[in-house]
């Protein structure tokens, strides 16, 4: 398994997008106001995927991998799978405000082709985000120190909400949640206590 990205993703308004550059991005994605998407916590249209997070913060640790085979899912709470055509060879993962057609917050080069995008969510408990950590003390740091400290904290804190995206070449017959409950049904907050 080849890791191609590790760092924080900014999930403004509790969401981020995954799409192929030049595909029209979120243009065709509907809005979360539509009951079905808000309840599931995701939406996808073949060229873009929208995902809602559980936490109230905007910052989450994210790792992206290229994988030859179907990954294992034992340790994560939820797995979503979607077909994604990356004809441009550029995968974009972005908050909603920086999501342009050809560029976003995170831009990754991959071999052009059809992929199955597996999104693995860990520690999906409402409110289980970095606010439970050391933010009050961190706030005394300079902006640059704070940025580095938050990166370190997010990477280290394997007990809080975090995500992995695994790209596997090919297509899947089953899209949507293949492990985990529907988003708004939620996982009980005391599950991890």
């Amino acid at each position: 398994m080849n890791r191609i990205f590790a760092g924080k993703i900014q999930a403004d308004h509790g969401q981020f997008l995954i799409y192929a550059a030049g595909s029209g991005a979120g243009e065709a994605l509907p809005d979360w106001t539509e009951e079905e998407h808000g309840e599931k916590g995701y939406m996808a249209n073949g060229s873009a995927i929208g995902l809602l997070v559980y936490g109230g913060t905007s910052l989450y640790w994210l790792e992206v991998y290229l994988h030859d085979n179907l990954p294992t899912f034992e340790e994560c709470d939820r797995v979503l799978a979607f077909n994604l055509e990356i004809a441009s060879g550029k995968l974009i993962i972005s908050d909603i405000f920086n999501a342009c057609s050809d560029e976003g917050a995170i831009n990754l080069l991959v071999e052009a082709g059809s992929y199955v995008v597996y999104i693995l969510g860990y520690n999906l408990v409402y409110g289980n985000d970095i606010y439970d950590g050391l933010f009050t003390e961190m706030y005394k740091l300079s902006a640059e120190e704070l940025d580095k400290e938050i990166d370190r904290e997010l990477e280290k804190r394997t007990d809080i909400e975090r995500y992995e995206i695994i790209l596997v070449s090919g297509k899947t017959q089953i899209e949507g949640a293949i492990k985990g409950e529907n988003y708004m049904g939620g996982i009980e907050p005391d599950r991890h206590q």
Binding site: D12, H13, G26, E27, G56, F97, C100, D147, G186
Partner: protein, 129 residues
């Protein structure tokens, strides 16, 4: 914004200088602006903002912290009003504003005729019936 009534209501309250009672950034003053300046990069780099809203607690199973002006606008910096609103409302309104400033279509809203708006562009926030 009326498809997202709580976010719209918060916006109107913020214009009037109101806010939630336990808002750590202060209530009732200053008045928050209708005209706001797009600052995507400033938002992306402003991890301090995430820390600054931490003391403001909402029921995380139900609500998000809604900010006005939105974090993507320069006028947000240390001066935003914060209010707990339903997750669905907050996330839907954020998605709508994102699409509008990026020149993408959004159902039920007037398309932005100028397409993608660069950082530094000033936009007027309005609430539609």
């Amino acid at each position: 914004m009326s498809v997202h009534p709580q976010s719209a209501c918060h916006m109107v309250e913020a214009w009037a200088g109101a806010g939630s009672e336990n808002n750590p950034r202060g209530n009732y003053l200053p008045l928050r602006p209708h005209l706001v300046t797009i600052d995507r990069k400033g938002n992306e780099n402003d991890v301090r903002r995430n820390a600054s809203v931490a003391p403001f607690k909402c029921n995380s199973a139900i609500d998000d912290r809604d900010e006005y002006p939105l974090a993507v606008f320069e006028e947000n910096k240390k001066k935003a009003s914060i209010k707990c609103v339903k997750k669905k409302d907050n996330r839907g309104s954020g998605s709508q504003v994102g699409k509008q400033i990026n020149g993408q279509n959004f159902y039920g809203a007037t398309p932005n005729p100028y397409g993608y708006l660069e950082d530094g562009s000033v936009v007027e926030m309005v609430v539609r019936e």
